[in-house]
Amino acid sequence: MRFELSEEQRLIRETVRDFAETEIAPSAAQRDEEERFDRGLMFDSLAELGLTGIVFPEQYGGAGADYISYAIAVEELSRVCASTGVTLSAHLSLGANPIYLFGTEEQKQEFLIPLATGEKMGAFGLTEPSAGSDAGSTRTTGVRDGNGWILNGTKIFITNGGEAETYVVFARTDKDATKHHGISAFIVSKGTDGFSFGKKEKKLGIRSSPTMEIVFENCRIPGTNLLGEEGEGFKVAMKTLDGGRIGIAAQALGIAQGALEQAVAYAKERKQFDKPLAAFQGISFQLADMATQIEASRLLVYNAAYRASAGLPYSQASAMAKLMASETAMKVTTQAVQILGGYGYTREFPVERMMRDAKITEIYEGTSEIQRLVIGASLTR
């Protein structure tokens, strides 16, 4: 068992960290304030670096790197800007990966390659107003129409919504089948007739990442856009989310790491009662706990990523990683705000943004409760 990163993985971390600190970090607070997505910076420049297809083989426009490299990239971006981290994670794990896992060769040529090269951006539409954690309750319908399909329904909370060109969405194609069995997955391109965007969400955190409602009104798509087998959509969604959880766990890890570094720097600098905060054991013990929880999360995240790359089952591992890393991010960012005190509560310092950003990691791509459900089910099966 080796706990060391490879030379390539270390170089990827150094590169993405340099890039994130130099290019992404300077505008993070302002983009958050203005709730502004900057595609050139937050997506196109990731494409130039080769991050948008990092885990896919070169033949599909990817970099041919492993999931640990992917986790490192999302972690390093999120360390300075969680909105940029989730842009990459939603694009790659949720938009592109199901096409890589379940797509036909033709679908990979048509849809995966432009996603991997970053020419197009991907997104994923599963959640509905009445189908959140209970994805089996999907009400969006897909009805056969000659050799195509007609979609009707609304999806909400779509990360990269409006900006993305390629959407993997889920619709009920068999009303009579039991809950999970009548759902199918489809690839829908922006600009298709009957496919439109609803309201943009105003959020607590990740405010620089667009979250939108997407609407299908008699939206006709070709039969060749069915992703995977008809009626197997639930499986496509669950497999996709297993991978997606690695991305979100890595995002949470990056947010927590960023907050810890802020707290440590402040504790060394800030003097009260004639000594730096770090000299107070009450503070240094808090920092020690934060660092320890982050390191434990990191090992879980990299383990899940390792398993995904090695072709081993990783559903339980990614649920554990996501649960631990997201709850750690929430705890650590809250403590970081506490350590920075009144300053931490202001928008002059990044920790309040990190605390707001951390909360979503306990919610999307499976709430903490769903992660416990997945882990519990894997134990008692």
Binding site: E7, E8, L11, T15, D18, L49, G64, S69
Partner: protein
């Protein structure tokens, strides 16, 4: 065109430095390492030159322990074609002439048209390795360049001199250039190129095979500068303060001309 780029691995300058037990260098444990900043400009310029010419072969050379190969991988990922690692666990203790002798011994029969180095390293900062290498090889060197263009066998380079003065120099190849901040903006290695870099040639040779100079200098002591006393605090009314500040700036600094 054959191009050689010489790079050095140095500690991240954000690191917390300690003097080592022998008292002659910094303690190298618990440091993060990266490519010397000026060498990044050198690598970038080499890659741009090759891109401009549409052909060429870039060798990157570094001297040090096995650890420096990691930094060499970055140069390969940025676009160098092959690497020559001179294996030497004691590289930090060698004086500039010794390092230059190693580079020159490797380069002398390879027919390099252009050699790029950083203008100095961020740790030792002697600024001598480049010029000494050129001297041994009997080729001209142009130091602290901030602009570079090549047409045929003639290079036109802009040098940064003291006091904000710049100089334009034309030189025939083969020649050596030491690179200064402002020359270019080094690219980030892309992920696909990082993955491809591991397939590029990276040979190691022991330093003993290339070392041609004996040590003539010895570092006797490395120490932190003594902490200076606190700054000057001026007190009084504003008009008087301004006069005294101007007087101090005139007497003790060059920011105000008399």
């Amino acid at each position: 065109m054959k191009i050689l780029v010489c790079i050095k691995q140095v500690p991240d300058m954000e690191s917390k430095f300690k003097v080592d037990a022998a008292g002659t260098w910094y303690d190298t444990s618990d440091l993060a390492w990266r490519m010397n900043e000026y060498d990044e400009y050198a690598v970038e310029q080499a890659v741009r030159l090759k891109e401009q010419l549409g052909q060429g072969d870039i060798t990157v050379l570094s001297i040090g322990s096995d650890k420096v190969k990691e930094t060499m991988k970055k140069a390969l990922a940025m676009g160098c074609d092959r690497g020559l690692h001179v294996s030497d666990d004691q590289a930090a203790g060698k004086e500039p002439l010794q390092i230059a002798s190693v580079i020159a011994a490797f380069a002398q029969d390879k027919g390099f048209d252009v050699i790029f180095t950083g203008m100095q390293s961020q740790d030792r900062g002697s600024g001598q390795v480049g010029v000494l290498t050129a001297e041994i090889l009997g080729m001209p060197s142009v130091t602290t360049i901030v602009d570079f263009s090549c047409d045929g066998g003639v290079v036109s380079a802009k040098r940064e001199l003291e006091g904000g003065v710049k100089a334009r120099v034309k030189v025939n190849t083969p020649a050596l250039f030491t690179c200064q901040l402002g020359l270019n903006k080094p690219r980030y290695p892309t992920l696909p190129n990082i993955m491809k870099a591991k397939k590029k040639e990276l040979l190691s040779v022991p330093v003993a095979e290339l070392l041609r100079a004996d040590a003539r200098q010895q570092t006797t002591k490395l120490y932190f500068p003594e902490k200076k006393g606190g700054g000057i605090v001026l007190e009084g009314d504003v008009g008087e303060l301004a006069d005294r500040l101007v007087q101090i700036l005139q007497e003790k600094t060059t920011v105000l001309s008399r």
